[in-house]
Symmetry: C2
Subunit: 224 residues, 2 copies
DNA sequence: CGATGTCCGGATGTCAACATTCGGACATGA
DNA sequence: TCATGTCCGAATGTTGACATCCGGACATCG
């Protein structure tokens, strides 16, 4: 029998905790792109030691959210057009593999979860739509695909770009998300259908196109 | 003008240094798969503090060479068939993207470097062939393709599987590498040619097949 | 005899202080 | 005025010691 996960199993350590707090602060816009993340400041603010903050920042660097250089500290990544193109090129390659893998390995329960998420997106749009909430559902959808692929290395590679994707899209959504709102449900519903019973070749192509269209939309929103 | 890299720019810190030493020790077989890497031991052996060793082990974990769990230490990864399949599936996706990207962005000088590496492989085979040296040339070849692609996120993702690929192939080569030796030059020569002037679609296909054939060869060598 | 509780060695997680390095401000000289 | 050299503050890199946690061995009890 699966024991329900206890309230807050403190099995993560202060570094993970610190990383989570800083990441949320970055997503909330509290640390604009390019702003420095000083270890002593964060240590004092979070009430932990500098060592733990340092380790947490290393985790965030692994996610691509911050960048640190020798003896010059760590700063929040900035968002240039090249950054967006790089991240989305890698994501397209990973999503393609995840989709084709999940096509073979996904269980019925996992496919049902995808349908549930599409339903949640639809409900979110029907009501008082919240950009960040809709975005969270979008990313959760792709998280499940990676889970279903059952490839730990692939999931790790996704983790290395996931936060950057989240950050980019958050900035885009803050400027208006009518286009995003109009397309997100249909595109994900199609992906879910292709995962259930689609030609692997067209699934691979559509998975890549899904990312590329998001990339173009992002570049248009940031550049114009 | 580009200043020649000084003898040993100590711009890397003890953590990087410790990570390099431990990585080489793993490649040399000094730490068999599954063996624990105790921080105090390594700190004493390398003459640095435990903090630096800890940070270095975190770098190695980012490369996928070791795996650490909360309050239970870090151990060298073991090589199961599933691990090989996972790593090579991700590598195939990344190599495909790297090849198609480099097809557009590679400079003439970078293409010439690839030809030089193919020549070096050929020379290595003609003489007293060394498995590890041949393998180093193989990986260097792919490193250059990733460099030529000009996508930092893509190179980072490659770094996350590169060491595992190196480790797997080293173990394979130790058991005999006649098949590898017979094919490596021709396959890489074809890739270099396709990068110079090939149809993008066939380049993408051949890049994937190159990885898949290496994966099959590896599985056959480890399983049988 | 099997299950349970307790204890202990060893290893990791965390912390605060010391050493090193960087970038810029200021002063100096051609 | 521009270039160069020196100095200083601040932030990071590094260290050793303390606190916490895990796993197994032993003893105890039903």
């Amino acid at each position: 029998m699966t024991a329900a996960p206890l309230p807050k199993a403190r099995l993560r350590g202060l570094a993970q905790e610190a990383a989570d707090l800083v990441r949320e602060a970055i997503f909330a816009g509290h640390f604009p792109p390019g702003s420095p993340l000083r270890e002593v400041e964060l240590a004092a603010a979070l009430g932990v030691s500098r060592g733990s903050v340092r380790e947490g920042l290393a985790l965030l660097e692994r996610e691509g959210l911050v960048r640190s250089v020798w003896h010059r500290g760590t700063t929040v990544v900035d968002i240039t057009a090249q950054d967006v193109e790089e991240v989305y090129a890698v994501r397209a390659a990973l999503d393609r593999l995840a989709a084709t893998s999940a096509r073979r390995t996904a269980s019925e329960g996992q496919l049902a979860e995808l349908d549930d998420l599409v339903g949640a997106m639809s409900a979110e749009i029907a009501g008082e739509a919240s950009g960040p909430r809709l975005l969270a559902l979008d990313i959760a959808f792709h998280d499940r695909i990676y889970d279903a692929a059952g490839n730990r290395r692939l999931s790790d590679a996704w983790q290395a770009v996931r936060s950057q994707v989240h950050l980019f899209q958050l900035r885009r959504v803050a400027l208006g998300y009518q286009h995003y709102r109009a397309r997100v449900v249909d595109e994900h519903r199609e992906l879910a259908a292709l995962l259930r019973s689609g030609d692997p070749a067209t699934l691979a192509r559509r998975a890549e196109e899904h990312v590329h269209s998001a990339c173009r939309s992002l570049l248009a929103g940031l550049g114009g």
